[in-house]
Symmetry: C2
């Protein structure tokens, strides 16, 4: 039996996360254990870096520095939004061949797993032996097969911490507060705002997800009912909310929208949706104080907000990717499976089961009214954020009897 | 000599901070030491709560719960945006008289200190003996006399952590990133973004403050120059930037603006300024990827981002307020003075030196070009954020020689 020998290449694609460097470092440190991997290269800027032959030799990194980078948010090797087609992948494959790359590890979401799938097919067509493994990552938590995705837990911790604070702020100065949260097609991250609740009257009081058609009239009725009950209202809304025909609400309410390189409407990096919803409430209700925050890039990059569970798992998917490639000689996508409360196992799934597909919030996680989440979701999400949030407490002092009266 | 004996009343006014509950708890725990303070009441909702006789008896709090609330962000006694005039203060004074309040402690910014000043004068006019002490708080860091204000250090830590992460994100996926930061008249909080820099090419590359006239043409020239140099650009901009005539840029660029209860233009709780600046760059430069985040309420309320220095000082200004009132029989505003590197002392200043006045960034903290800060500002700000930010590291792997060429 001949042992596949050559270099390994690792790269990062798509949006950064708080823990994607853990995965790269997991790949690098695990790969160092196998003599058949002669060098470990990193591509600067994802597949675009491979195309440009923009490679670095990660073999020449100290373990100390690798550990520091692992704990640093965002994509240390830099990323790309390029979505390679077959032609592009052929060029990638040529570069890999030239450098005798025999192990390719790509950390990213469903677009990146599709790239791995195409490169893998090109290699097979050319009769070039090369292991290709997709290492999962996405704050949207929308990869098929996986119980959850590395990057999500830390982003969920950020969102829950942000909403917990915003709820306290809204309690101190009442009004309507809208938080616009990332997630174009999947509502997991918006739903994670529910972990902020401590007291029964805490926000988020209303949660709107892309999985349920958004009806502006129903929205206004919900806000009025909440405001009547609590004298305030904290709302978590996904940037990707759509009407019943699947049209993004931002395009319905706004006159000018921008489209990105893939023809998608720009949702992040703009406060437009929050402002539009705030204006809707101001127009249709007598409520005066209405504020909107769009959490934007902080959700995936804020320095110092990370889930310890997420960190550990992001490291392990990188390590497992190398083991599946080297010890089992397999191609595929590393997937996370929940096998206990709370424990996970890692498996290798077919790239075609992950690539370019999107997982949505299952029905049992969404309440009947379509404006909140269920206990099942809370139970699902809580272990992922890496321990309890800091405690939130209220004064419990009894009221003083009025003297002047009313 | 007769000892002033009666009840104490503590309240919180204006915008919440991460540490304002520390100040209330400082007042409560210190007041418990003096038998002449028979009860310690809290007003629910600041001066508005006093007006409504909406009081609670903080004497009946356990120390354990007080410590938990102290560590919780936002105003635990709830706040108000009411800006009392003489008539309003007369009513406040009537309530205090009815409840035999002899010690009044109000935590807030310059509006709140003005309230303390008026109440103090009303009491004097009525010949009612009452000590009135203002306990400083504001994330804007704009109270006169003070070296810095409780609340600022934690907000600065949030902003620096956010920009550090956003800079890493922008490095991974290059483009222009704009962060809109709180501060209507004072640029301290926006300036604190500079603490995020580790490597010489790190952002924020450009910082715009309300203390310098904002010129859109100069702004575009700055962005172009930065982009040419680094291939990317991270910008921190104060929500309160103004043109050379003092007109808020948001009103110049936007057609519809909202005014708050005080007739001020609404700057927070909307993404409008960030979107306007992003559109300006898209119009006037060839740069395609331009994103804006408005940090909004997270800056003052995010759960789990707090400066240990700020926590300690916020507690101490509350304690000192009680000592000045009880042990010295004085009215005034507790002020923080830097007496070492790094050490502070607390003094009691005249309310008229603080009330309704605004401190600005001194010239030596702003660079000559008006688009950044100086080393003097960094030295001033660094001790306030309560220890280093989490480490930020980069891969140091050397480049691999190209085989296919270029």
């Amino acid at each position: 039996m001949s042992i596949l020998t050559g270099k390994a290449l690792v790269a990062q694609g798509g949006g950064p996360t708080a823990v994607i460097n853990q995965s790269v470092v997991g790949v690098v440190l695990e790969a160092r254990k196998y003599p058949q991997i002669q060098r470990i290269y990193g591509a600067i800027g994802g597949v675009h870096g491979i195309l440009e032959e923009n490679l670095v030799d990660l073999t020449q990194e100290t373990e100390g520095n690798l550990e520091l980078v692992a704990a640093t948010p965002s994509s240390g090797l830099c990323s790309t939004r390029d979505k390679p087609d077959a032609e592009y992948c052929k060029k990638l494959f040529k570069v890999m061949q030239a450098h005798d790359i025999r192990f390719f590890f790509y950390c990213g979401g469903n677009d990146s797993s599709d790239t791995v799938r195409i490169v893998n097919e090109e290699a097979k067509k050319a009769g070039y032996e090369m292991r290709c493994v997709h290492v999962p990552k996405t704050i949207d938590n929308d990869l098929m097969v996986n119980d959850h995705c590395p990057g999500f837990g830390s982003a969920a911790r950020f969102v829950a911490s942000a909403i917990a604070g915003a709820n306290l702020d809204n309690r101190a100065l009442p009004g309507v507060y809208i938080a616009v949260i990332m997630g174009r097609h999947a509502g997991f991250l918006t739903a994670s705002s529910a972990l902020a609740k401590v007291y029964p009257d805490d926000g988020p009081h209303l949660i709107y997800l892309p999985e349920r058609a958004f009806d502006p009239d129903k929205f206004i009725a919900d806000v009025n009912a909440c405001y009547a009950k609590y004298g305030r209202c904290v709302i978590a809304v996904s940037e990707g909310i759509q009407d019943k025909n699947g049209t993004a609400i931002i395009t319905k309410l706004s006159k000018t929208v921008e489209k990105d390189a893939h023809g998608n409407v720009q949702l992040s990096g703009t406060g437009a949706l929050g402002d539009l919803l705030a204006n809707l409430i101001k127009e249709k209700t007598p409520i005066k104080r209405v504020r909107a925050d769009t959490y934007g890039y902080l959700q995936r990059s804020f320095l110092g907000c990370v889930s310890s569970t997420d960190q550990k798992e992001a490291r392990e998917v990188g390590q497992k990717a190398v083991q599946f490639a080297v010890l089992h000689g397999k191609d595929g996508s590393v997937t996370i499976h929940r096998v206990g409360d709370y424990a996970v196992d890692y498996r290798l799934s077919a790239l075609t089961d992950i690539a370019a597909l999107t997982k949505h919030m299952p029905d049992e996680f969404i309440n009947k009214e379509g404006n909140g989440v269920t206990k099942a979701f809370i139970d699902y999400c809580r272990p992922l954020i890496g321990g309890d949030l800091p405690p939130v407490a209220r004064f419990r002092a009894p009221a003083v009897e009025k003297i002047l009266g009313k």
